[in-house]
Amino acid sequence: MTKNITIFVLLIVFIAVFILAVFWGAVNMDFTQLSDTDLDILTYSRLPRVLLAGLVGASLSLSGVLFQYVMKNPLADSFTTGASASSAMGAVLAILFGLGFLIPVFALIGGVIGLTIVYKVSSVNGKVQPITMLLAGIVVSTFASSVISLMKYIADDSVASIIFWLMGGFQDASMQQVGVLTTVLIIAWLAIRKNYLSLDIICFDDSTAMASGVDVHPLRKKIFFIAALLTAICVGYAGIIGFVGLIIPHMVRLFKFVIASELVPISMLFGAIFMILNDLLARVILTDGQELSVGILTSAIGGAFFLYLLMKRKKELYYFD
């Protein structure tokens, strides 16, 4: 029940935030009388942007939840698993080669390579050890980051554009991206939905989980790659927007939604709202038409809020082995 009420409330908030985000922006419009330019801006800039923000928010939150299930570690997210950084490495390579239009493709390739390495290193006969995976992930992540640093070094005068691209943002949003990510997200979600109950069961130790009828290792592999794919696409479209995937699920858990069938959808919805709001703020907070990187805001706002929750609830913190 609480689940349904929460989802309902979040849906209403989502709609309200969505409308707010479409109506408000760097360019003021008279919505009773839209000029051609206004319409242009709405269709080609603002609408895809708001939609993409929502989708990326939901996708990153979903991937964060999934990584935490796979790794059994509270610090697991797209960064610690190497997904973000290796995708970003691909993207930066594209920027460096002046192939800006291929950023998403490069990001995807980078992400897939990085995660295949993580998976190969941490699996023995198809069995995945969360601890090894965690370590392999952080190594791949750091390795990819160092390659990015190296590229910044080499980049000379495009260093600034690499940096700002990496900080993340939805400026480049297009309806085509919205279409792709919607499709991927829906497929991913449907694939995960089937496993809600299994996700709960892999919170037990491996023996118990397997003896309960969950084929733990193939499941880990599956959700690992789904989460990785989502991350790679998000990075390709919007740069590295860290922290969302890590923190949103923890917040939702602090509100006592701990069962996958509650945690997953609520995290996604909450993530979408959070991201749209942050992007809105990023668009309007500065003067002179400047935009802030959305990654900065997500970290700062999300961080402050989470710290507050942690303090308020520090006595009732859940176990995470």
Binding site: S45, G98, D157, A160, F164
Partner: protein, 242 residues
């Protein structure tokens, strides 16, 4: 006129555009642009605001290098694009000429170029070619390499940039600088090198015997019209101190 709504995303070119066509046709510039004060600000030069640019419907956008402003941006606007990205004095003349053609004010551009060339005549020959190192930032120690506008300035002023790499700037070993022992060690002050320590106060430069010159970053590292002034000024300094 050829273009009526110009947006300039790369501030060093602003002065040139202003001299070519005046202020009226420029409708948008970046935040840090001090040449055009009363037009739309379309964000910072590194992250222009696409929505705003769209809203002011430019017919020409002048941007910097392809690396800083990816080509992808061009396809998002129906406007024409001009890239201003000189690395030498000749480049500057060439691009002023191109801009003149594009904006259909050829006589004006030729006039500017002539003016500049006249100013360059103030440069006097030096008895020796001084060895120079140009510090872009102190932390980490980054110096200007060959393809940079600073090298162009130094060489026009009669000096020789001792850092022989084909990158605009490089992080360099402190040892190398001490070993080169240049005649002039130029370091700049400005946003890229805020409040740098004088080289003499840095422990690794204790043994450095060079003459130290402090210059203004805006004058030396922007590839705009200021470059000519920088050349003249540096030449004077060389002359006085040699």
């Amino acid at each position: 006129q050829a273009y009526e709504r110009i947006v300039i995303l790369y501030a060093p070119v602003s002065e040139i555009v202003k001299q070519l066509v005046g202020e009226k046709v420029v409708v948008g510039v970046t935040r840090t642009d001090l040449v055009f004060k009363k037009v739309y600000k379309v964000g910072s030069h590194l992250r222009p605001n696409l929505e705003l640019i769209k809203a002011i419907r430019p017919d020409l956008i002048i941007a910097g290098s392809k690396r800083a402003y990816p080509e992808k941006m061009e396809s998002r606007f129906s406007a024409d694009f001009f890239r201003y990205d000189p690395t030498s004095i000749e480049d500057i003349f060439k691009q002023i000429r191109q801009l003149g053609d594009l904006l259909q004010v050829q006589p004006k551009s030729e006039q500017i170029i002539t003016q500049l060339k006249n100013k360059l005549k103030q440069v006097q020959p030096l008895p020796d070619q001084p060895k120079v190192v140009y510090e872009i930032s102190e932390r980490p120690l980054r110096v200007a390499g060959k393809p940079s506008i600073m090298t162009a300035i130094i060489e026009y002023a009669g000096g020789l940039n001792m850092i022989d790499t084909n990158k605009k700037h490089v992080v360099i070993s402190t040892e190398i600088v001490v070993d080169i022992n240049p005649d002039f060690y130029i370091y700049q002050d400005g946003p890229m090198n805020k409040n740098p320590r004088p080289p003499i106060e840095r422990s690794y430069f204790k043994p450095l015997r060079s003459k130290i010159i402090l210059v203004d970053q805006y004058l030396f590292s922007r590839p705009g019209l200021n470059v000519i002034d920088a050349i003249v000024k540096l030449n004077q300094i060389f002359k006085e101190q040699l």
